[in-house]
């Protein structure tokens, strides 16, 4: 493992890896840069990379014109609330399966996973119809519930894999010490699983934030989050590169930062614990 590597080899590795890394990252970088250009510079020929007149104008225009704040707020609500409700429902469920396993636990876990694999388009109309009937179309409540439900299996799974690593002895010790079930979960399990719960939270905020199928199909003006807001830029008339870039940057920046924090847990979450 720890073997001396020639500096030359390391230099070559570094050069190649950085080149590829930057190439992959370039679309994001370009978007961010363009967001600080004027519209004219954004489509100048040849393109300018760094030497342009940096401006924040696009950001203020996007905010003023499109009510960006409301979309942002909707995104925050949908991602935040759906994740919190999801965790509140999932912690007890994961506790049950991790610490009181029965013959059926495994089947239930796999079945939960299978609901995640249901193609959304297969149930699009029923959900659409139910939403109309219940007056949930284009409402934050409805969308939050749907997003919570589509991510619930992942939350349960992630928590389950984290709980599995906690020795059951400690929970039994709490029980012997006189803790009720609620106290055992609140004072012992939860604090011990905080890192796991935090990464579950993070990953689910990311997934909920980026969820596009249901947000595009179930919202119009009122409850539309950022995914839908960005999609509205696809009409050719409203197209201005610098403003598109500013809106895009604002839409992805928060999640990009969260994502970088959660990259380690991402693997576990997205593979349902099959790869750690």
């Amino acid at each position: 493992m720890a073997r001396a590597v020639t500096t030359q080899r390391k230099t070559i590795n570094t050069a190649i890896a950085w080149a590829i890394g930057l190439l992959i990252f370039f679309p994001i970088l370009w978007t961010v840069l363009t967001s600080f250009k004027t519209e004219a510079q954004a489509i100048s020929d040849p393109p300018v990379f760094l030497f342009f007149d940096w401006t924040l104008e696009n950001y203020s225009i996007v905010q003023e014109r499109s009510n960006y704040m409301r979309y942002l707020w909707n995104s925050v609500i949908i991602a935040g609330v759906s994740t919190i409700i999801g965790i509140i429902i999932a912690v007890p469920a994961a506790w049950s399966m991790a610490f009181v396993p029965s013959r059926r636990s495994k089947d239930i876990l796999l079945w939960m996973l299978s609901t995640k694999m249901l193609p959304a388009v297969g149930v699009l109309y029923p959900i659409y119809l139910l939403f109309i009937k219940m007056g949930l179309l284009d409402s934050l409540v409805g969308l939050t519930i749907v997003v919570m439900l589509i991510n619930l299996p992942i939350i349960v799974w992630m928590l389950y894999t984290y709980f599995k690593e906690i020795p059951v002895d400690i929970l039994e010790a709490a029980r012997m010490d006189g803790a009720t079930l609620r106290e055992e979960i609140l004072y012992v399990l939860t604090p011990m699983a905080i890192p796991g719960i935090a990464s579950t939270l993070l990953l689910n905020v990311i997934l909920a934030w980026n969820e596009a199928f249901w947000t595009l199909n179930l919202t119009a003006a009122k409850a539309a989050p950022l995914t839908a807001f960005i999609a509205s830029y696809s009409s050719p008339e409203g197209l201005f590169y610098a403003k598109l870039s500013a809106a895009s940057t604002m839409a992805i920046a928060p999640i990009l930062i969260l994502g970088w924090f959660s990259q380690k847990q991402l693997v576990r979450g997205l593979t349902f614990g099959a790869v750690k």
């Binding site: 400690i170 039994e172 006189g178 905080i194």
Partner: protein
């Protein structure tokens, strides 16, 4: 008060029957050790008493009251786990204070009890550390401290010393014994190590495959083991067993003789053999003697005895210390 009584208790996990019908009385203030080979159901039995597992049938009474269906927290028992099971996110102070917090005891009173437990266990300087920053022995003490503050009717220990190194184990053994002497509370202690059982117990319960083979004080078990299993399990080094005509001569199927009840001579005796291995410990010498027609015999000889590999020796058992067993392994 800490009287525990098990009546016809059984436990099965699915189809596997781990504890067959079992009766046991544990008196107030007793130090009872469950001993037996690993996998024989000691932990299961302890967990049944603790209430961490349900009995399949039978009843468990604590201080005369039926506790069979009472949840663990309400049984008035405290448990020390093999893994210590400390709360890693809490300081030593919070760990020890956790049962008090659960019992809703006031801050000041809890603080007092924590301080006195820490005093007894030499933990006063470590109260603000996390379990992760403590040595194995200190963690063990915290686990004991957490049990003490509850002032339980009985302490349950599940192999509490098996994760410690040999020297520390001897120390902790003494500390636990001293604790029992000063608290005079019932203690039930599970171990697979007969030395721990012999040194600590008032009463030993020898278990095999869930069955109680014998119950008695250490010396009773040593002096009059009920069967081959107990005879072989209690005492160190292990008892020698001889079958065949030597046994028949004594009117038994098997005879047993402890290593310390064999006399060694260089000139004459009942069995002639050659020394295989000789271990000179200073105080004692352990000899492994190969006798023709028998299993190798272990002998505990005087510390200064000058016998080495290949020497010819004669062994004679003390007639009054001979154990006789029938074909079923029962003592005669």
């Amino acid at each position: 008060m800490g009287h525990i009584s098990l009546k016809q208790v059984t436990k099965s996990f699915g189809a596997t029957n781990v504890i067959p019908p079992l009766d046991l009385e544990i008196n107030d203030g007793e130090f009872v050790v469950f001993v037996g080979p690993s996998g024989c159901g000691k932990s299961t039995l302890l967990r049944l008493i603790a209430g961490l597992e349900d009995v399949t049938s039978g009843t468990i009474a604590i201080n005369g009251n039926d506790a069979t269906m009472i949840p663990p927290a309400k049984r008035g028992l405290a448990m020390v786990f093999q893994s210590y099971a400390l709360y890693p996110h809490m300081s030593v102070r919070k760990n020890i204070g956790f049962p008090l917090k659960m019992a809703g005891i006031s801050k000041e009173e809890a603080e007092q009890k924590i301080a006195s437990a820490a005093e007894v266990l030499n933990l006063t300087d470590y109260l603000d550390r996390r379990p992760g920053q403590l040595s194995g022995g200190q963690r063990q003490r915290v686990a004991i401290g957490r049990a003490i503050v509850r002032e339980p009717d009985a302490f349950l220990f599940d192999e509490p010393l098996s994760n410690l190194d040999a020297a520390l184990r001897v120390n902790m053994r003494l500390e636990i014994s001293e604790l029992h002497n000063s608290l005079k509370t019932t203690m039930i202690y599970v171990t697979h190590d007969q030395v721990e059982a012999m040194t600590m117990a008032d009463k030993i319960v020898v278990l095999r495959a869930g069955y109680i083979e014998q119950v008695g004080s250490p010396l009773e078990l040593y002096r009059s083991p009920a069967n081959l299993f107990v005879a072989g399990f209690i005492g160190s080094p292990k008892m020698n067993f001889v079958e065949g005509k030597d046994a028949e001569a004594e009117g038994a199927h098997t005879i047993g003789v402890r290593p310390e009840h064999l006399t060694v001579s260089k000139t004459s005796g009942q069995w002639k053999g050659t020394v295989g291995v000789s271990e000179h410990l200073g105080s004692d010498t352990f000899l492994r003697v190969n006798v023709e027609g028998l299993e190798p015999l272990t002998v505990r000889a005087d510390g200064e005895v000058e016998l080495y590999h290949g020497d010819t020796v004669y062994l004679t058992p003390e007639p009054s210390k001979l154990y006789r067993f029938d074909a079923d392994g029962k003592a005669i």
